[in-house]
């Protein structure tokens, strides 16, 4: 199947102002990212906080404007369209917020929140809208009685279901899931993740799955993109990346995840320090300040993402 979303050399940046309101620099949150998402796939995007994974999702969804580069969604370049023109195309591309509890209007009953997208994006009559709301509500596994409740009256797991139901209303083909399980307990997380997989089958969805939880991404995604300071440093089939990561950052990231019943990470974890300030990135490879293998070459030239023998792409001078 073809590509549903293609990012080419995408840049998103935010101005930095000093105390007197003068612009002193740019925070390059997304710094030249090229990605392809295949229709029907789940692409996981992982990285530490501040690596730009949420900004990518929001740029795709049209919440931030890209500074350069293109976003092709279902064959159309949506990065250069005006918001009004973009809206018609973006109906099929929905963004699921990190915290649905905060993104639902606390004054609105859930039924009203759910039918709002239908009123905006479709010409359905009131009765048709009600029928559709009930249908989707059942699909995400919530009882009909919830339509008359307010967001604060339901649990965190149920709020996620409502957030998802609201997105499914307009029959999207691509859903950007931004940290969809953060803040949930494992018992609820497992149920929500299974729901994502069921809904993907049922509605033919493609997911861009943004998460810092590597175990969850491994379970959910076919392909994975590892980000560090605004750039993709490794990209490939999830299982291959997890079994044999090629970029030293990916190796450290995977080594940091506790595996219950396995080797204890905290006995010999090697990665020191924290990511550098994204406003003043190191020259050359951004990871060199924490990398064991860093040499003079890493400071001089920035490694490009190149395809290795097993099909994985990695941005490291020494990857093979």
């Amino acid at each position: 199947m073809g590509a549903i979303l293609e990012l080419h050399d995408l840049h998103t940046r935010f101005p930095i102002y000093n105390a007197w309101g003068r612009r002193t620099g740019w925070l390059r949150a997304v710094d030249g990212v090229s990605l392809t998402v295949t229709r029907g796939d789940v692409l996981g995007v992982v990285g530490e906080s501040g690596c730009g994974k949420t900004t990518i999702g929001k740029t795709i969804a049209g919440i931030h404007a890209p500074a350069a580069g293109s976003i092709r969604f279902e064959g159309h370049d949506i990065s250069t369209l005006s918001p009004r023109q973009g809206r018609a195309f973006r109906k099929g591309l929905q963004y699921c917020y990190q915290d649905p509890g905060a993104s639902l209007d606390p004054h609105w009953r859930i039924g009203r929140s759910l039918s709002e997208p239908l009123a905006i994006h479709t010409g359905l009559s009131r009765t048709d809208r009600h029928a559709r709301v009930r249908e989707v509500l059942a699909a995400v596994g919530l009882p009909e009685g919830h339509l008359t409740l307010y967001p604060h009256e339901i649990s965190g797991g149920q709020q996620r279901r409502v957030g998802l139901a609201r997105i499914l209303m307009v029959q999207p083909s691509l859903v950007v899931l931004d940290e969809p399980t953060s803040g949930l307990d494992v018992s609820v997380q497992a149920i929500v993740l299974r729901l994502f997989l069921d809904l993907r089958e049922r509605f033919g969805l493609t997911y861009l799955f943004i998460s810092h939880d590597l175990a969850v991404v491994r379970l959910m995604s076919q392909r994975i993109a590892v980000m560090y300071l605004g750039r993709v440093v490794e990209l490939g089939v999830t299982e291959q990346v997890f079994v044999a990561p090629r970029h030293p950052y990916t190796r450290s990231l995977l080594a940091a995840v506790p595996v219950v019943g396995g080797r204890r990470v905290s006995t010999d974890f090697a990665l020191e320090g924290e990511p550098p300030d994204p406003v003043n990135k190191p020259t050359g490879c951004a990871f060199r300040t924490r990398c064991e293998r860093a040499e003079a070459r890493c400071a001089a030239e920035e490694p490009a993402l190149r395809t290795l023998a097993n099909g994985i792409q990695a941005a490291c001078h020494f990857a093979e």
Binding site: G261, S266, E274
Partner: protein, 332 residues
Amino acid sequence: MHPDLLSVQDVSVSFSTEGGTAHVLDAVSLTLRLGEIMGLVGESGCGKTTLARTILGALPPNARVRGAAISFDGRDLLTIDPREAASEIRGRAITFVPQDPFSAFNPLFTVGDQIFELMRWKSPDRRPFEAGYNRARRRSDRDRALTLLRRVQLPDPERLLKKYPHELSGGQRQRLMIAMALLPEPRLVIADEPTTALDVTIQAQILMLLRQLAVERGVSVLLTTHDLGTAWEICDRVTVMYAGQTLETAPIDAFFQAPALPYTRLLLDSLPSGEAPLRGIPGEVPSLVSAPSGCRFHPRCPSASEVCRVSRPPLSEPGPGHWVRCHHGLVG
């Protein structure tokens, strides 16, 4: 076998709220040995933080505590003179590492100011009821602080003392929090979800540090977490709580390899792993205002029977040091 440092016996805590009385802890028992790291795990709202605060004596005023005893180092914290608790126990013999290193500091004072404010009252050199803070003590406290800041791998401690909290990253603030919790030379550190707000790479660094320091200084740690991976990393024993009850306590290997409690098994099955299909726990955590009778987990438990609804399960010991409260507790 190490002697017990802390022993909580049948302690109940209730809060009077507008909706009725919430029984947040129901006859909870827990022991902590000298020098061990005990993990207190459970889902949100199970009472982990309330138990931690009860031990610390830092509950809000609408809380009502009943129970046999909380004995700590030979003293009963339930009946101790409040002034003694404030000066000798809280922040001194028992210290606290909060969940969120972002809101735990006062943004208007430098790191150094906040360390000296703490040490003025809680320094191990302070004589009982000493009100002043003389230069000699200040100097020795400063040396002690700098040594510890270096030990937790904070760069350039001298300059750090002059910085404000917002100039530090999350990982640095949590290192600083751990250093400050250890400065009064406590016997017990209560760490409430110390790595929840941090990235995995930073989490691994912090957990490693916490474990090393606990071993080095012979400090016991009570670590609350909802993340079983964190518990696996550094704990010696684990206690599981559900809806305000402590249901299982086991040495770390037994806990993960042979859990006796159905709830523990379900929690472990909920972890995303490569092989097994995902299983969650159906249903919701019950309201603590009208908690279920008997075993509080029975409405969601796959092996529940009539007896679970009627009576609270007795304590049984399926293995050495492994205690469980379940009518159907399975061995092995």
